[in-house]
């Protein structure tokens, strides 16, 4: 079994309303000194087979078609533990 992680975030130029809302809330909760918060999605994918370049390639293809919306989001793929 291979675990692959995909993190999807909004492109930097796209408004992240959720991140903004969290950022606005933090100081009142006693967490000053935060400059920015961006919220994205996190996927943990378990594949049959080995954790090799092919596995990562397959997950990249999934991210392209299904996990991320290329119009507004970008993603990164990495091997999980």
């Amino acid at each position: 079994m291979a675990t692959v992680i995909v993190d999807v975030v909004l492109k930097p130029e796209i408004l992240d309303a959720q991140g903004q809302a969290i950022l606005a809330a933090l100081p009142t909760l006693g967490f000053p000194g935060v400059a920015s918060v961006r919220q994205g999605k996190h996927f943990e994918i378990e594949l049959e087979g080995d954790l090799d370049e092919t596995a990562l390639e397959r997950v990249r293809a999934m991210a392209d078609t299904l996990l991320a919306n290329p119009v507004i989001e970008e993603y990164s793929v990495r091997a999980g533990s």
Binding site: E13, I14, L15, A17, Q20, A24
Partner: protein
């Protein structure tokens, strides 16, 4: 380097990318003539967006004028504000006024369906808010390509989710809309959104920057790079998938930001703190500053570098074109400024003074002290180019009209009719739209008296007097393709009928005109015919057009969509407790079919669903009959004469019988005169099916007295079966399965 006015004077020959911004040679020349020099980059950006089709209505203006010329007699009693402001305002009595408008967000919704549709709702809600009104409901007429087109699933799921997420989060009930499928909308869905708001009749706000020395305040969300160039590029050029470079950045919606903006504005309006106010929609700051200045004292000084930015790398021309959502601009006297800012602060809304009203007649903008814009604001807001584009009746129009559905084989036996009925109610256009409207909150605000799946939405305006309004939207692109003049009138007639069968007295209308390219003379002819037809019919029916929207360039490649005028009609309901609902309620009630049924199947749902045929002529428009029917239905509602009513349109009597039976699980036994196929499936207009208690002749006497034709066609039964005498019968369970399963089967998440 920032291109300033000084720089423009010093370097008059600089090459400028006006063509890439969508400006024509003569338009650019006119800008140079107005300014007496070349425009700065910022000025060029402003002219390009303000003179785009989307903002300037340059191709449609000459036709839209008719709405102001052919005004109905009652318009002067009804209208407080007519076309030309953000939305028209009508007087509804008791010191209250109502404002409503419909707008399109077609192209953005194809690129990013969720955000495109969401920001479509956000935009129209801000137009209503800007008038000084509390938004109280939304509606969403939607059109998609063929259900089996590979992109339709992505689009309908995303668009419905987008409309729901934004409207639900704003706390606005969705009280109706449309879902239509037709291959002419493949890769070009139509996302029209209507918003209605209520305000004190003496609380109307206008978009004008009056009073030199008054402050110009930008408030709401920060400005980012959203949809830069969207207004001019997206709305002004044919959308062509093959050129991704033309895809501008998508606009993102933040419904929470809009919700607090609404509540903040309501408190600001209640304390009468603004001199003028304008929302930032298409063309963002360019539009807001020029329109405010042009409608007011005439001048404005703006320090553009003071605008709060989400993306600090934006340059002035980008800031001017940005379509970041959830922003407004207000003009506030210095005396009221502190209180204004305090209320913004209360709601967590950012507010920044960025300028001052002047009497110079110029809109001057500075960027860290350098003058980058110095223009007469009227030249952007009002004196843009106007085109009387060539148009001509298409060569193919005669052949299309000659191709009548008479040649199509019709079902004859009882079995064939039964099968046709089941096919029709399961067809994507006639099936239940529950899967869509269950994704929308219809209860919030607690004033929704009628909503989906009723013919019209009804809202209570005042708990103490029970006064209310009714609203419906309709459009039929097939009818308009066959005859655009009649098609636009049929859209109005259907919305009018939908409002009046619920008991609403129609008084005003708004329109969204979705067409192909105005540069195509065929399309321009469709547009000219449709506007002429609509203006004529509004005058006859007494429903003044209070505002609307034009969306051109709806096509892929060179194939335009079916011309699709969508009309929203507003009606007054004197006492919402007396509204009429659809759906059979009592076994034993008598069924009356009001109106005349002719053999009219051109453009019908039957011809399309069963034969994929579109040809011939649409049903005959009979505005006098619509008016007689409408008045009778309103009178009947007020006098409590009917137990249910449902108007006839797509799918004819058969469809109405099915929907009325399924509503509360009661059957019907029906006897039709003449050819049962025509009786069941013809789409003749000016008809409604109503139920009255057995033995109660009050409605029939009223109809007879007024010379309105009707036929007693049977009765509601306790048995869960629809029986057409001498022809066929179907158990309701079978109808229900056919009617309800289609959309979930096609589109639900699995």
């Amino acid at each position: 380097m920032i291109d300033s006015v000084d720089e423009a004077l010093a370097n008059p020959g600089a090459e400028q990318p006006y063509a890439a911004l969508g400006l024509k040679d003569d338009e650019y020349a006119k800008i140079r003539e107005i300014l007496g020099r070349r425009p700065t980059t910022s000025e060029l950006a402003m002219y390009s967006v303000m003179w785009s089709e989307h903002c300037s209505y340059k191709s449609s203006k000459v036709h839209l004028r008719q709405f102001g010329e052919k005004v109905p007699d009652n318009a002067s009693e009804v209208l407080l504000i007519g076309m030309g402001e953000n939305a028209g305002v009508v007087d509804v009595g008791n010191g209250l006024a109502v404002t409503f408008k419909i707008e399109s967000h077609n192209h953005p919704s194809y690129v990013e369906p969720h955000q495109g549709a969401a920001t479509g709702v956000g935009g129209i809600v801000r137009d209503i808010l800007t008038m000084g009104a509390r938004p109280i409901a939304v509606m969403d007429p939607l059109r998609f390509g063929a259900p089996d087109h590979p992109d339709t699933g992505r689009l309908i799921r995303g668009i419905v989710e987008g409309i729901g997420s934004y409207g639900n989060c704003l706390g606005l009930p969705n009280i109706g809309g449309e879902v239509v499928f037709d291959p002419s909308y493949n890769t070009n869905p139509l996302v029209n959104a209507l918003c209605v708001g209520v305000l004190p009749a003496d609380g109307i706000q206008l978009a004008k920057a009056d009073g030199p020395g008054n402050k110009v305040v930008l408030f709401g969300s920060r400005t980012g790079g959203d949809g830069i160039g969207g207004a001019s590029v997206l709305a002004s050029a044919t959308f062509d998938e093959a050129k991704p470079s033309r895809r501008p950045a998508v606009q993102m919606g933040d419904p929470f930001a809009e919700k607090v903006l609404i509540e903040c504005c309501m408190e600001i309006f209640a304390e009468r703190l603004v001199v003028g106010i304008q929302d930032l929609g298409a063309a963002g700051l360019s539009c807001a500053t020029t329109e405010l200045a042009a409608a007011g004292t005439g001048g404005m000084d703006v320090d553009l570098d003071l605008a709060p930015l989400r993306d600090p790398t934006l340059v002035p021309e980008e800031i001017l074109m940005s379509e970041s959502q959830e922003r407004m601009m207000a003009v506030v006297t210095p005396a009221n400024l502190d209180r204004f800012v305090e209320l913004c602060h209360k709601w967590g809304v950012t507010a920044t003074v960025i300028g001052t009203v002047t009497d110079t007649g110029r809109l001057v903008m500075r960027w860290y002290g350098e003058t980058i814009v110095d223009v007469p604001p009227r030249t952007l807001a009002h004196d843009g180019p106007v085109y009387d584009r060539p148009y001509a009746r298409p060569e193919w129009q005669d052949a299309l009209q000659a191709d009548s559905p008479d040649r199509l084989p019709r079902p004859a036996s009882g079995d064939e009719l039964r099968q046709t009925l089941l096919t029709m109610v399961a067809s994507p256009n006639l099936c239940s739209k529950r899967w869509v409207w269950e994704q929308y909150d219809r209860y919030v605000m607690g004033n929704t008296v009628l909503a989906m799946p009723e013919d019209a939405g009804i809202l209570r305006l005042d708990e103490s007097t029970s006064t209310g309004i009714a609203l419906a939207t309709d459009g039929n692109g097939r009818f308009a393709k066959l005859d655009p003049y009649a098609g636009a009138q049929l859209a109005l007639a259907e919305a009018y009928r939908n409002v009046s069968v619920t008991g609403g007295r129609p008084i005003a209308a708004t329109d969204c005109l979705n067409f192909g390219s105005p540069e195509d003379p065929d399309v321009m002819w469709q547009f000219a015919e449709a506007t002429r037809g609509l203006a004529d019919a509004c005058q006859t029916l007494g429903t003044v057009i209070t505002g609307g929207n034009v969306s051109f360039y709806n096509q892929t490649g060179s194939t335009p969509i079916n011309p699709t005028p969508v009309v929203g009609v507003l009606g007054l309901v004197d006492d919402v407790r007396r509204r009429t609902k659809a759906g059979f309620r009592n076994a034993g009630d008598r069924l009356l079919l009001i109106g005349e049924t002719r053999d009219e199947l051109g453009g019908s749902e039957w011809a399309w669903t069963v034969h994929e045929h579109l040809g011939g002529l649409p049903p005959r428009v009979d505005l006098a009959a619509e008016q007689a029917l409408g008045t009778a239905m309103v009178d009947a509602a007020n006098a409590g004469l009917v137990t249910s009513a449902h108007d006839l349109s797509d799918g004819g009597l058969a469809q109405v019988l099915v929907e009325s039976c399924l509503r509360h699980g009661l059957g019907a036994h029906v006897t039709v005169a003449g050819d049962p196929f025509v009786a069941l499936f013809s789409e003749s207009t000016a008809r409604a099916l109503v139920t009255v208690p057995a033995g109660d002749d009050r409605l029939t006497s009223l109809l007879t007295e007024r010379g309105i034709p009707y036929a007693a066609i049977g009765a509601v039964t306790a048995e869960a079966t629809l029986v057409v005498d001498g022809s066929f019968s179907v158990p309701l369970a079978e109808l229900d399965a056919a009617y309800e399963d289609t959309l979930p089967r096609l589109f639900a998440h699995r």
